[in-house]
Symmetry: C2
Subunit: 340 residues, 2 copies
């Protein structure tokens, strides 16, 4: 149980001053060859590592970034974190994770916990509750203290900070058009309630695609689901109410795979009778039966970009460059068995 080695202890053991040790370890010209060697060897032998807390305090930089997301048990968020972690580590940063569990209060508490010096900057995706409340005072507070924020996926438009998003409208439009090109005449959409940005935007893209081809938007073909845990009944009713339905755009994997299952049970063939395109290229799409054609959101890439942007901002010292950027990450349509 060797006590953790510090400069002070090395100094005592070698009968020199703390400053000498510090300088020797940083190869300062002020220290003689002889003393330097001695100190460096001693440090190496006993595996000295500078205490990062002390460094943080001195430098007023923690080399840590905080990330707050609604859930981690969610493939998309997990990939984003993976991307963040990779880039951050590469640049010598560590990642602290907090989960809001889709709760506004937890999001606020977590931000306060992290903003008291624990980290240098934030990456976050807002909770559903925050989106519906449109209350962003906690973000403003943090920003006022000079801490940069990068938001991804679920962003607050009028908050000063970089944003990494996908073009939901275009992506949904392309997905819808893709189905129509496959000769599907009655394409519906399984979406979420409108206060969730992605739900609203994807529904919009869906509508735009229809209109571009001169197809009238039929509200019966739009299902907005609030409670994801009980989507089964809603989707089943939706399917029963729309017997002519032959194409589905789903804003997430779960809706898609649920629909797929219900359809199969009802004797419909996929993709011949009904084709399906899902957002989020996760495990479910890849391995479900039939596998699903999806719109990949490239979460890993998003995470990487978010981390790179944040760290850039942290390491450029002139703050005058106050232009915030919104990066739109390309989506990719991955064709699988659920479309012809």
């Amino acid at each position: 149980m060797a006590q953790k080695l510090t400069l002070k202890k090395i100094a005592q053991d070698l009968k020199v001053s703390i400053s000498t040790v510090s300088k020797a370890l940083r190869d300062s010209y002020e220290i003689s060859e002889e003393t330097r060697k001695k100190i460096q060897e001693y440090a190496k032998q006993y595996n000295y590592k500078p205490n990062s807390i002390a460094l943080s305090l001195k430098n007023q930089k923690t080399k840590k970034i905080g990330i707050i997301i609604p859930e981690i048990v969610h493939h998309f968020f997990a990939t984003v974190i993976s991307g963040v972690e990779h880039v951050a580590n590469e640049k010598g940063y560590q990642v602290i994770i907090c989960l809001s569990g889709e709760s506004f209060d937890k999001e606020v508490v977590n931000m306060e916990m992290l903003a008291n010096g624990s980290i240098d900057g934030f990456i976050l995706s807002l909770s559903k509750e925050t989106m519906s409340k449109q209350d962003f005072h906690h973000l403003r507070e943090v920003i006022n203290q000079g801490m940069p924020i990068v938001m991804f996926d679920r962003v607050a438009d009028d908050i000063p900070g970089d944003k990494i998003i996908i073009d939901d409208v275009t992506a949904a439009s392309e997905a819808t058009d893709f189905l129509m090109r496959k000769a599907k005449k009655n394409v519906g959409i399984l979406s979420t309630v409108d206060y969730v940005n992605v739900g609203r935007l994807r529904t919009q893209g869906y509508s735009e695609a229809l209109m571009k081809r001169g197809v009238e938007v039929n509200q019966d073909l739009i299902l907005k689901i609030e409670d994801i845990d009980h989507c089964d009944e809603l989707i089943e009713k939706f399917i029963d109410n729309n017997p002519s339905l032959d194409g589905i755009v789903a804003v997430n994997e779960l809706f898609a795979v649920t629909a797929s299952k219900i359809l199969t049970r009802k004797g419909k063939r996929i993709p011949d009778d009904v084709a399906i395109v899902a957002f989020t290229d996760g495990m479910l799409s890849k391995y479900s039966n039939p596998s699903l054609t999806t719109i990949g959101q490239n979460g890993y890439e998003m995470g990487g970009i978010a981390a790179a942007k944040l760290i850039d901002r942290l390491e450029q010292d002139q703050k005058d460059e106050e232009r915030y950027e919104t990066v739109i990450v390309k989506t990719s349509l991955i064709e699988r068995e659920s479309t012809p």
Copy 2:
């Protein structure tokens, strides 16, 4: 861009000393009612929050725990983190995450990065490479410095620290027996190579279950897969080579769902012709078609237990209680469509 408020600034503004401010904010009896009120109100108005880095340095405690796992894009690990985070936050701790990506070197580097004062203790699940090398010097080093370690799932038996595992042998045995009770006569297992603990133990449990019922273990019915990315071909060959196969135990979801797909394609009916039980109760099992009967590893619970154990150890000051515990978390068999 208000500068972050410190004790010093409050002291200057209110023309008192730093110590007075500190004491006033901690409700010390040494400070007069009047001064205390004044300081507390000022602090509240300008939203003073003590700097956590300074506190860490002073107290020699960071109130942070580090967690190193192979991958985060993996349902089981994600649930564990979720459990860790929940319990940790409840007790005022934050969670720093590092990913080893199944690489020994990255695991070592990450541990060194965290062990220099960033955290108070570790929770980890070892990388595959570490397991195959059986090189645990990095763990020993950290422990020697007095930092407690809690391992889960992939643990190193002879390292002093708490361990949270499931009883793989029993779980696999129960799964196998479950299939046999369903009148399956030729049950095989899709496993991993032996240096992965869980693979070895689950294979052992499988064999024990057979032997208990007087069935001879047939090596042809045991498939050990090394490269998870190309499991398709191996599994297909395995199925072709064993035409009488009517039950499968898979050590993870992916193997199970892959087998399920191949079997379906070959015209076999699940569960009538072949029944399947998978380890890991994740998205795939729940939503694949047919849904899979699984052995839930209760990752959320494991994470919670790991966090609680670690924090307990951190907060008990007398180190004499050096008895390390191995907690065996109960698995749960969740019946779905892939078994009769």
